[in-house]
């Protein structure tokens, strides 16, 4: 289950309203490479990870991403809460206002609503983790675009920080990908003569994990 911590993972204190920036930032909330998609994708994919490392990493990064969703929500809210109707029209947020007033709604920067298609889960660990690695890289690139679009240090601070988290997550997912690739290769190419050899020939920790989980890729 999940429990709530009444604080942000990293502080957000935006003092100046900026509707254009709110309009761009929303893509990291509800866009294809956004935090909501990332959080739900990892928490969804963790079910079919073949070993403890994969389950733990997807679970823990997915949980952190929920905290990033909250940071993005806070940023968007603080950027638009004091806006007048005139300013909303001028920034092109009138169509948003028509349906949601000053409520938040997860879309990309062009208003395309969030969709579960962003999960892109195949159930194949290698395919899923390379999807996750790509997602982290794309999110990093989008954060860089967003940093280029503002000069408010209150906005840049959290964006730089969130960008850095994408780099860490990418590195961890890559470690997991390389580990699984090696593990599956051993299973397919290095076919031992007996079942016993199969168990004890290679990395003992790995084999133990596979044995315990009755792994379909190895057996």
């Amino acid at each position: 289950m999940f429990s709530y911590h009444k604080r942000l993972q990293y502080p957000v204190n935006i003092k100046k309203k900026d509707l254009r920036m709110a309009k761009y930032l929303v893509t990291q909330y509800g866009g294809a490479n956004g935090e909501l998609g990332a959080a739900l994708r990892y928490l969804n994919q963790r079910m079919s990870m073949p070993d403890d490392k994969g389950r733990a990493l997807l679970n823990d990064i997915g949980t952190e991403e929920l905290g990033h969703v909250e940071m993005l929500e806070t940023m968007i809210h603080q950027l638009m809460k004091d806006a007048t109707l005139e300013e909303i029209k001028e920034a092109g947020l009138d169509t948003h206002y028509a349906e949601h007033a000053k409520g938040l709604f997860p879309t990309d920067a062009n208003g395309v609503p969030f969709t579960t298609a962003y999960f892109a889960t195949t159930g194949d660990p290698l395919a899923d983790i390379s999807e996750d690695m790509a997602a982290e890289q794309k999110a990093r690139a989008v954060y860089e675009n967003l940093i280029d679009l503002t000069d408010d240090p209150d906005v840049i601070g959290p964006l730089i920080w969130l960008r850095q988290r994408e780099i860490i997550h990418y590195a961890r997912f890559k470690e997991l990908f390389d580990y699984y690739e090696k593990m599956f290769k051993k299973g397919v190419n290095d076919i031992p003569n007996t079942k016993e050899q199969m168990y004890y020939k290679n990395d003992e920790y790995l084999i133990q994990q596979l044995k315990m989980n009755n792994n379909q890729y190895y057996m």
């Binding site: 429990s3 806070t74 920080w161 969130l162 850095q164 961890r172």
Partner: protein
């Protein structure tokens, strides 16, 4: 350097598991620096253009305490992700446990003075303040 973490206190309390020094001094940032950078691992840190990380300057004692516990919680979390992939790394685990102890102590201390951060906090036995204390997306004039 304008630190918001009291490092004398931290040094005296950290690494209680027979560690007099941080064995990862060359590999890891300290919790405050790591928190500000969003990354505890020196070899993984990568800066965008000439944007250096924001120096967090707490406005008052409450914010100082909040940043302090956030930094230690962050340090523990970033080590957590590493340990998911390297559970056999014993000394990183020890450091992780030290950060966790620090974090729990700082959270308790914060809750005692400023109200609950978690619904299961024991600092709420006098009255129910969970709904009335500020939410993190509100203006925090703390």
């Amino acid at each position: 350097m304008n630190n918001y973490i009291n490092y004398d206190w931290f040094r005296n309390n950290a690494y209680m598991n027979n560690y007099t020094n941080n064995p990862y001094e060359n590999d890891l940032f300290n919790p405050q620096e790591g928190f500000e950078k969003g990354n505890m691992f020196k070899n993984l840190y990568s800066q965008y253009k000439d944007y250096s990380p924001e120096k967090l300057k707490p406005k008052n004692a409450q914010e100082r305490k909040l940043y302090e516990l956030s930094a230690i919680c962050f340090a523990a979390h970033d080590l957590n992700l590493y340990l998911d992939m390297h559970p056999e790394d014993r000394s990183m685990f020890m450091l992780f446990m030290d950060y966790q102890k620090q974090a729990n102590r700082l959270i308790e201390e914060y809750e005692r003075n400023y109200g609950p951060l978690n619904i299961n906090s024991e600092e709420m036995n006098k009255s129910f303040t969970w709904e009335s204390d500020k939410w993190p997306w509100e203006d925090r004039n703390v």
